[in-house]
């Protein structure tokens, strides 16, 4: 989705503004949203890619004017209601009025440390060989899917060089809409600043993105 989240290369936001003391959380509610989103992400009803998709589905103006955890909150509320886990009335009132729906897992307190210390790897073995090799010139495809994708607009149609082949990983575009993990080979592709931004680009810079195989095509 070419939404408010696809920020690479946008202008007009003003300077980067580090905060004094850089608090991890700015209000008590931010902590709770963080924890709720993490816990519900393990409910089995959706996954991390789906949560990203829910966040970037906020209308662009709302996305860009919402604080970080407000985006998380709004997305979580949408997910909870869209999956039938609670009604809008319930989350507006805080009063349960409908039966609970089944979830696959409820993360227990004692599970947090071992589970999160182990992590949630997203590499998946794949029988087919990688299509592209290190050093190969490739073009980022021009795609504009209405759903989730991890190919940012600023590289689409641009030519780069394969820097690394990382193995095969869960494909977010599929996983986000709960259509399966559909793993693909994942590459790092390097683009010169001039290729991305034109002759007036800052000299001597390059940008590398991680690109799934279906995002790339060989140079004709």
């Amino acid at each position: 989705m070419n939404g408010g989240q696809d920020l690479g290369g946008m202008q007009g936001f003003g300077p980067v503004a580090p905060e004094p003391n850089e608090p991890r959380f700015h209000a008590a509610w931010e902590k709770r949203v963080f924890g709720l989103a993490m816990a519900m992400g393990l409910s089995g009803r959706w996954n991390l890619d789906a949560s990203r998709a829910a966040r970037e589905a906020l209308p662009p103006g709302e996305y860009l004017t919402s604080s970080y955890y407000a985006i998380w909150l709004k997305a979580l509320e949408r997910q909870v209601t869209a999956h039938g886990l609670a009604t809008r009335e319930e989350i507006a009132s805080g009063t349960v009025s409908a039966p609970a729906a089944p979830v696959t897992r409820v993360l227990k307190g004692a599970e947090v440390e071992p589970l999160f210390d182990r992590g949630f790897p997203s590499d998946r073995p794949l029988d087919v060989p990688a299509r592209f090799a290190v050093g190969e010139r490739v073009r980022a495809r021009i795609i504009n899917p209405p759903g989730h994708t991890r190919l940012p607009r600023y590289v689409r149609g641009r030519t780069g060089t394969v820097e690394s082949v990382h193995g095969s990983f869960v494909f977010p575009d599929s996983n986000a809409c709960l259509a399966g993990e559909a793993p693909q080979w994942l590459y790092t592709v390097r683009f010169s600043g001039a290729e991305l931004w034109g002759e007036a680009a800052e000299p001597g810079h390059a940008v590398s993105v991680n690109a799934f195989e279906s995002y790339l095509e060989p140079l004709a």
């Binding site: 696809d6 905060e19 993490m38």
Partner: protein
Amino acid sequence: MAHEPHDPQNHDHPHDHPHDHAHGSGSELSPMDLRVRALESILVEKGYVDPAALDALIETYETKVGPHNGARAVARAWVDPAFRDRLLADATPTLREIGVGGRGGEHMVVVENTPDAHNLVVCTLCSCYPWPVLGLPPVWYKSPPYRARAVIEPRAVLAEFGVTLPGSTRIRVWDSTAELRYMVLPMRPSGTEDLDEAGLAALVTRDSMIGTGLPRHPGARA
């Protein structure tokens, strides 16, 4: 294997008395606090969320993870060439050697600054960041100005952070668009020959591992 959720009529946390999570008394709550409290009440009462898990998650990421983990790795790499080589070649198991890993660090990549190339990490699409290595990201890392500008004008961004590099230094920007997570291995400052690993780690700032800063010089700490 569906979990049988709690019956809302028969649980430990009746709606009228939401458990206290140290988020203030009701009379001081902002509209956002109230909104989140309502959501939390529903999710807990319906049995989807275990309050103990919530508390454990928040505590873990508020207090346990942080840039001290990354700093240890950097200091080790500075004193141990074999560790450095392993870190650059295969970061995830190498970080595990010093007890660093987990959620948000499943697939780590370490990129090394040299006199010729400076690395800068960003996530233009959301906020991908190596949690177990650096902790939760600061707001600026997640904010539109950084995400928009790091890929198109990295030198201008670096200058705002006080980092001015020679024109001959290439800038390598890493946009975290998949589940790989990046950490920058900065260059060891001069004048640190006498420091031990802990002393070196104290020079390694969080920003120097994102690429928006450089390690402190020992003199700067005096």
